[in-house]
Symmetry: C2
Subunit: 475 residues, 2 copies
Amino acid sequence: MDQPLAYVHVNKDRFLAELAELIAIPSVSTDPDRRDDMRRCAEWLVAHLRSLGMDGSRVISTGGHPIVYSEWCRAQDAPTLLLYGHYDVQPPDPLEQWTSPPFQASVRDGNLYGRGAMDDKGQLFTHFKAIEAYLRTAGRLPVNLKIVLEGEEESGGDSVSVFLADHKHLLEADLAVISDSAFFAEDVPSLCYGLRGNVYFQVDVQGPGRDLHSGLFGGSLHNPIQALSEILAQLHDREGRVAMDGFYDDVLPLASEEREAFSRLPWKDDDYRRGLGLAELYGEAGFSTLERLWARPTLECCGIIGGYTGEGVKSVIPSHASAKVSMRLVPNQSPAKIASLFEHHMHSIAPRTVRVTLRCLTRAEPSIVPLDSPGVRAAVAALREGFHKEPLFQRDGGSIPMVASLKHTLGVDTVLLGFGLPEGNEHAPDEFLSLSNFFGGIGTVLHFYQELHSSFLEYRHRWVRSISGMSAQKG
Amino acid sequence: MDQPLAYVHVNKDRFLAELAELIAIPSVSTDPDRRDDMRRCAEWLVAHLRSLGMDGSRVISTGGHPIVYSEWCRAQDAPTLLLYGHYDVQPPDPLEQWTSPPFQASVRDGNLYGRGAMDDKGQLFTHFKAIEAYLRTAGRLPVNLKIVLEGEEESGGDSVSVFLADHKHLLEADLAVISDSAFFAEDVPSLCYGLRGNVYFQVDVQGPGRDLHSGLFGGSLHNPIQALSEILAQLHDREGRVAMDGFYDDVLPLASEEREAFSRLPWKDDDYRRGLGLAELYGEAGFSTLERLWARPTLECCGIIGGYTGEGVKSVIPSHASAKVSMRLVPNQSPAKIASLFEHHMHSIAPRTVRVTLRCLTRAEPSIVPLDSPGVRAAVAALREGFHKEPLFQRDGGSIPMVASLKHTLGVDTVLLGFGLPEGNEHAPDEFLSLSNFFGGIGTVLHFYQELHSSFLEYRHRWVRSISGMSAQKG
């Protein structure tokens, strides 16, 4: 282990320069104009993985954006680890709020800034550089490794699901790992064992057949912006609860050991509130902030538009208005069931004066993994070595749809070994990854591969049994 | 009168070609990139008025967009008429909804399409061509005429108010005329004697200091889009009334002769509803559609924006959201008082979880003129001649702030001699002016000038007295 760690130490600057090259490719999957950049990014990754000494590296075309596959399966008596990640990034807008250009990586105050620095290019790179360190020093990895990188994580595409279903044999593995989450806080290494799911809707409200002058027509018809506002305003009650019959029915209550684990985390509502620049927090009555974020479902409006939105005045009643509504789900809520509840509820509250249409844009299952599984134990040991601290357990309010897909399609559980920070601005301007977490992350991945190898050698029978005994439903 | 009418008849095609030239100048006053086009439009108008034989035509620079002034004051024993109009137009967006390009005038099905065709370039042109017809045939006008054209009507600028206040002597007149309104319906010539006022606000809701990931942060703070929707939803009650204490306090009830005049108008709620492509109408309980449009104040949201509004999904809680709110006022509501009521009300309902800021972008007084004044009588006679039908009386839901300014600053009443159609799409794609109304409008203006002249000769003393006895408060 000393040799790979020493290799990392002397190559730090080069690692950052390579990551900057990757960030420079604007792989925005939701933007049709970036299609060529998406392929260019996939090709860059394949070339890079080849240069590290990985086998079978290739770009695989799909109905959407390409998938990158790569492997190193020459280890005897070692488990097979499947690394999943995504090379697509969020749109960079609003551009004017970035301190440095989003696709030009910039190091300031010990952080690497750039779109994708945290989500997910920078975190993927911790694995790439750990692989490089092993292959250039020991000439081998402690585990068999299969890598699947997709380009539709941020756009809700399903190419990777199709790919998994079509390549079950190729992708056989004992455990999966994803590095696309965050520490609980700076200097508080933690392991995320649960994720929220998601159901995301486009809501369109159609009023008159054309835009109308608000003076000449105002007062005689239901303004679509008003109708949409009235609909959205009915989706929460006065206690901050989602006001939809049955919405909370299947929510799995927190286990007592989870509450205990949460209580060990350093958390102050006041600090959180101040960090967000807010006068007051808000949320579902009867739950703490961490419970609201991790163990309770929520409904957020991610976008709204209608009428004139430029500078100055325009006297118009628009013919339509629209919104984007995201519902984050927790175990054991079913995205399909919630989507259907939402559709039914929206149609029941929509006034007859306008036409409301709904389109489900994306769905993701919530997930949770047991705290005492060998994969989680290896990750805890690796984090302890990589960051010289006892890691804590946490959940995460975001969604990684892949965790549920890996379980359902390939039968493998996933360890979430994330190195971002909560304040890392993923999906926002000035996204960053701290340099200490990046390099500590490489060290952690080196240890993680080794821990998996040792665990497998020592307790192969139990390890394998235990892995297959994991459940996505147990907490 | 025969000679000017014959002159119009033989020059129709040229008149349309000239109007097309004027429409081709994209004089969008709210768009800072169109500043040069605004001046070019003013210069075009001055050149055109000079070519007609008008005197003293000039572009007058202001703090905002320029004003065009022109006059012909060589008539003895004739009243002085002040023609006000505006050469600026609404923004053309959404561009994709235009059948032909907005700044390329196009004749289809007996209509002239183009931005400004109705509001107000095409209607101004009825006066220009009537002037031309008189000066090229009789060599003189039946009235003294002063023309003031501004470039900030659509952007709520106050340059013309300053100009009026600074040039009271230059602008002395017996009566003002504005052609910027519409017939009640196609083939139903009507005279508009009342306008609504307007108060227009920008509403900004500030939440967290930066955009946040809706998964990682969702559930723990008040989403600004949700907060804005909840605020807007509270501005109407379940009966469609504006839910603001005192909002209706000063509303002048309809006089019985007005109700009677309205009842003569051809109107069917069902036709109106169908024409707008709506399943149901909506409005303040207890009032007919025409009353809601003309005699009742209203509150409309003219724009809303927040978060991600592009294609597909983005998981974001935006740091802020904003809306534009327009309140149309009726006699005797005061825009200043309503603006202050609105500010007070909004701050009283704003939750403490977000920061709400308000900015009043524009204000306009409502107005009304007596049905039996000499100016209105001349207009009725002229419409009867111009369109060979008995004109009806109507009000209009829109605002022409100038009417109140002319009264308050110069002491003159205004006749609204409009030739548009309600379905003319002003402020919307495919704006048009019907050709029959354009040419009928020119004929009407020819008669209107003559009627004013005759009325002045015959009853000068009474005419003048009566004019000065007009009141903006009497209906």
